[in-house]
Subunit: 332 residues, 2 copies
Amino acid sequence: MSVTIKDVAVRANVSPSTVSRVISNNPRISDATKERVRAAMAELNYQPNLIARSLTNKSTKTLGLLLPGSNSDLLLNPFFVQIMRGISSYAKSKGYYILFTHVDSDEEEVDVLSNLVGSQWVDGIILTTVKDNDKSIAYLKANNHPFVVIGRPDDDMHTYWVDNDNINAMFNVVDMLIKKGNKKIGFIGGAHEFKVTKNRLLGYLKALKANNIKVDLNLIYEKDYSEEAAYEASKEIINYLIPDAIVTTDDLIAFGVQRALIENKLDTVSLVGFNNTVLSRYKVPSITSVDINAEKLGIFATKLLINQIEKIPILTNSYIINTKLIERDSTK
Amino acid sequence: MSVTIKDVAVRANVSPSTVSRVISNNPRISDATKERVRAAMAELNYQPNLIARSLTNKSTKTLGLLLPGSNSDLLLNPFFVQIMRGISSYAKSKGYYILFTHVDSDEEEVDVLSNLVGSQWVDGIILTTVKDNDKSIAYLKANNHPFVVIGRPDDDMHTYWVDNDNINAMFNVVDMLIKKGNKKIGFIGGAHEFKVTKNRLLGYLKALKANNIKVDLNLIYEKDYSEEAAYEASKEIINYLIPDAIVTTDDLIAFGVQRALIENKLDTVSLVGFNNTVLSRYKVPSITSVDINAEKLGIFATKLLINQIEKIPILTNSYIINTKLIERDSTK
DNA sequence: GTGAAAGCGCTAACAC
DNA sequence: GTGTTAGCGCTTTCAC
């Protein structure tokens, strides 16, 4: 059928092992035979069968990427695609493939992992969300399988992870708003089970405290990552009081807030998004947002994982990716 | 190291081949031994090594997914993620994995394909864009490798593909607008090299013709898939004349148009997007758009591909996925 | 109904 | 420097 190492060997009048050595560029092969073998490979249009190689090497040069399920708008968020782009490009540069799977439910997640890992399909796993007491993390640790998570895990000293400094990023947003004179600041975040939400909320609280502003629980909402839920939450806040500003944990959420603000003609209320998606810039008014460098998150996560797999000594088990506040018209 | 078929065999006091037969549920194995083997597998927590299986079976149960490069906002478009979700969920239901790669340039595309195919990593390929004289399609055909494309290819009788009826979908949009009294209708599309753009333009032209409206080339723009480019194009159209309506080939483009319209206080101009992304619904005014059923595109593409790989007789080499016009406030 | 043996395409230890 | 050989973990033909 397709041409194998044996065919090349016959053609070049050498043994299969010699061909293999030429492929891996083994220095002990004479230049003459190298030439001959390479010529044979070219003539026969030979391409190594990576499956066979994987079997002997016990390594597939493939990374598994677990994406969250379809129960929220989370995946529709462009920042996921940016992360994927980062992962894909770094992986490619290091000769790795990416296998991806959606996970529909929490229970399923460990099953899927167990398949991927147990079947020896992947050399490592990239997790894209982190929860408290994350089952997937627990499973991978128990099985001692290389993995990296995007987001800060509970056991941040003994896990490979990348994340933004979400506490600080949100602290800066809120602090900036307060310095500009805003006092009554609402917070609308995604589901509380996600670490991101939790940490951004922490940053919010920290900033209030640092500026001696009392926390008002009626101004704090944590729902799911949808435009609609955010819209509803904003209306509740507005009914309670007219805030000076509303901060959110995602642009999609900010879009929902903006809709509510516009509907209620509240053009004095400041608004801040997160993740700096393409559209935040083009909204009217354009929305101030925090650029989280999603592509970089993907790149460094993959780097951490590949170093781990290839046992390349690394100085750190994590990277904090810098964020950048992009001020636009929605904050005065 | 990890537990293999041999370990199970020893434990269950049978030969490896028997274990293999139990795994594949071979009917000639007695229920008693089946039981025994299954028990052994459970006790040892055995999971088949898929790499080894792939080597013997000459099938990896993995599909390669090629995504467009980073030179446009195309990939940031939520509809891509929806397609991926469709692909992933159907593939999963049939026991297939998905390997994905970004392609940065056209030249690179064939290289990447040749790697994927030649290395025998994937059983089939999913192409997500189609161009005229598509090199990738040519390569896959030449190598006789199973593939499917999302979008209608040149040789639509001898290629597996899924697509919307883009000509008709756009025809209906424009026809509807004309029936409502709009006459001067602008068209802003993505890059002309993409078949999608071409076909939607065709539908636009067809509708004008059917209604005896003369084509005005000053109202037709084909740029790239970006908000910004669309915004600029709209301004040029507005400078030329105030249109009754503007149709676009993508919501992202429509967003750019809307920004230009709002800036110029042109609230009488109708606007239609495409792909019905989440945000079109929440824009102010909400944007009429065409739902292309992206997830379904992914599902049926994968179905076509897997049937082909497994040599399941199929009645058709393509599916036309229905579209649905979602009327909102942007069209009067 | 079950076992023995060969082979998928590659790599690597061991010879010479 | 190069060849021989065994083996990665599985499936499958051929025996019995």
